[in-house]
Amino acid sequence: MKKPFQSIDEVSRALKKEKYICDRKLATVIYLAFQMEKPLLLEGEAGVGKTELAKVLSNALDRRLIRLQCYEGLDTHTAVYEWNYTKQILRIKLAESNQECLDNFRNIFDEEYLIQRPLLEAIRSEAHGKHVSLLIDELDRADEEFEAFLLEVLSEYQITVPEIGTLKAKTKPLVVITSNRTRELHDAIKRRCLYHWISYPSLEKEYEIVTTKVPQIAEELAMKICSLMQQVRQMDFYKRPGIAETLDWVSALLLLNRSHLDAETLEETMGCLFKYQEDMERVQNEDLAVSWAEALRS
């Protein structure tokens, strides 16, 4: 089968076309993930573009993105498949009133009554020759049991629905798993994946991202904002702002259409950067807005 990317440079180019700036290391890992047909495990602080990468990749390849958002208590009913009980009951009632015979209930356990959840959907698509990307977002939030189940799916790429049979993907979908490290993922999962830690971007990279994503911004201002963000990340905040926060902030500033940035404007827009009361309080108590405004003006 023809693999989607022929070289590492092609990966970088394709992502750049979708306005995603990635360094060579990440591009190499993505290329390897396609070539070796392994899932990609991305970890990093919040807001560095882990989920975004999955979206952008499926855009670049023109594949459908199937997303499974993990949460505590996620089970197979919501991740793989579920029978539409209500519909089944209604069907039985209907059969009853029409005096019709349902032989062995086979009729009510067919596809019509099957609710597909993300994992089954992805495997089915691949089984029918349609490529998809599967994003398993924030796997660290799911329970360990689900992780163990996922392990099975990821090694065999097949799912068994007892009433229907076993579905096996003919080709492997691109699987992107993200984790915020609220807990450590199991070693067995890590072993099966290609691991990449996305760190906060360097000044140059952040500048490139900002000017690519928000081209309306003046270059000089973008540079100043980016170097300010680098400083902010050095400080000891509870939740340091990621690149997503930078982009939010830049867009907010543009929307407000302020030609010059004073302390007041900064304070008004701090909500874009900090999401915790403690951090906001610190900005206020230490008059950081004032000194940052000065840094931006100079």
Binding site: T28, V29, L32, M36, Q88, I89, E184, K190, Y195, W197
Partner: protein
């Protein structure tokens, strides 16, 4: 061994790169990274997909296979830097061909010996297996591991009953108090849609999360090594633990203790925790914990 054949063809120097990769893997293992044969095989398979002359690509290939926690990245970087720095720099191809495939290739290539013969000699010793230095280190680690075996048993006994609470997930069970509607209806289908028996469900007990806080101020100095070992064992055998140490300040060491080898964890902690054996400010540290 088809991959080996192709990668060797790629390189124009048989066997050499594969062997060196194995040495590299072993050094990483010594430093406490989770190196397994499977990972190494995968990494070797990946070798033919990248351009070996490109350092960054090689770095990515190996790190994506051997690193699985951000704390391991600096360790990996250091070993990678030391191991491959003299290798990847282009050396004349003839020099590479002179290598004897059946002997263990030294780290530095013969063509690069000029700068200092001493240095090469040192490097050679580093990878030769029975170097005393390494053995001593290993014994030390082994001793600690053995001790922590005993500690582990105690810890398991301590924590077994400590932390069970009811979880949010349901499990079917006859002792349950609540009716499991879905399961009941499902089972009723067997009898033609008549609800004959009610299925019950109950909450499944689950493990509590632990927070371990340890005083490592000066007055506790003589115990702190033992305590560290305790915390290491605790975190290793009990899921969902957060570990903090405090004296005048408070530091979260959960990620540091996740290293495979206990002395790797010690080294990391020595590096990251500055306030070891300082004074004690319990109040402010607890306050800081609460704030977080």
């Amino acid at each position: 061994m088809t991959h080996r054949g192709t990668s060797a063809a790629h390189l124009g120097r048989p066997g050499d790169f594969v062997l060196n990769s194995l040495h590299f893997a072993r050094q990483l293992k010594e430093k406490g990274l989770p190196v397994t044969l499977g990972r190494t095989l995968d990494a070797l398979r990946g070798l033919r997909l990248i351009r070996l002359e490109d350092r960054e690509e090689a770095h990515s290939l190996f790190s994506t296979h051997y690193v699985s926690r951000p704390e391991e990245l600096p360790v990996f970087d250091a070993v990678f830097e030391e191991f491959w720095s003299s290798k990847i720099r282009p050396a004349p191809l003839e020099a590479k061909r002179q290598m004897q495939p059946e002997t263990i290739p030294p780290l530095t290539l013969p063509g690069e010996m000029e700068p200092s013969a001493d240095h090469t000699e040192n490097e050679r010793q580093k990878i030769s297996y029975s170097s005393q230095d390494i053995m001593r280190k290993k014994d030390f680690a082994a001793m600690l591991e053995a001790e922590s075996q005993d500690a582990a048993q105690l810890i398991m006994a301590l924590t077994r009953d400590l932390g069970l609470r009811l979880g949010r997930r349901w499990r079917a069970g006859a002792k349950g108090k609540q009716v499991d509607l879905r399961s009941s209806i499902r089972s009723s289908l067997r009898h033609g849609g008549e609800l004959l028996a009610l299925r019950k469900k109950r909450r499944q007990p689950r493990k509590t999360r632990f927070v371990v806080m340890c005083d490592v101020s000066g007055s506790m100095d003589s115990y702190s090594r033992f305590l560290l070992q305790f915390m290491y064992g605790f975190q290793r055998h009990v899921p969902r633990v957060e570990t903090f140490v405090f004296s005048t300040r408070m530091t979260r060491i959960t990620p540091l203790l996740r290293m495979r080898k206990i002395d790797a964890a010690y080294a990391l902690i020595e590096e990251k925790v500055f306030h070891w054996s300082g004074g004690t400010r319990i109040g402010s540290c607890l306050a800081e914990y609460n704030r977080r």
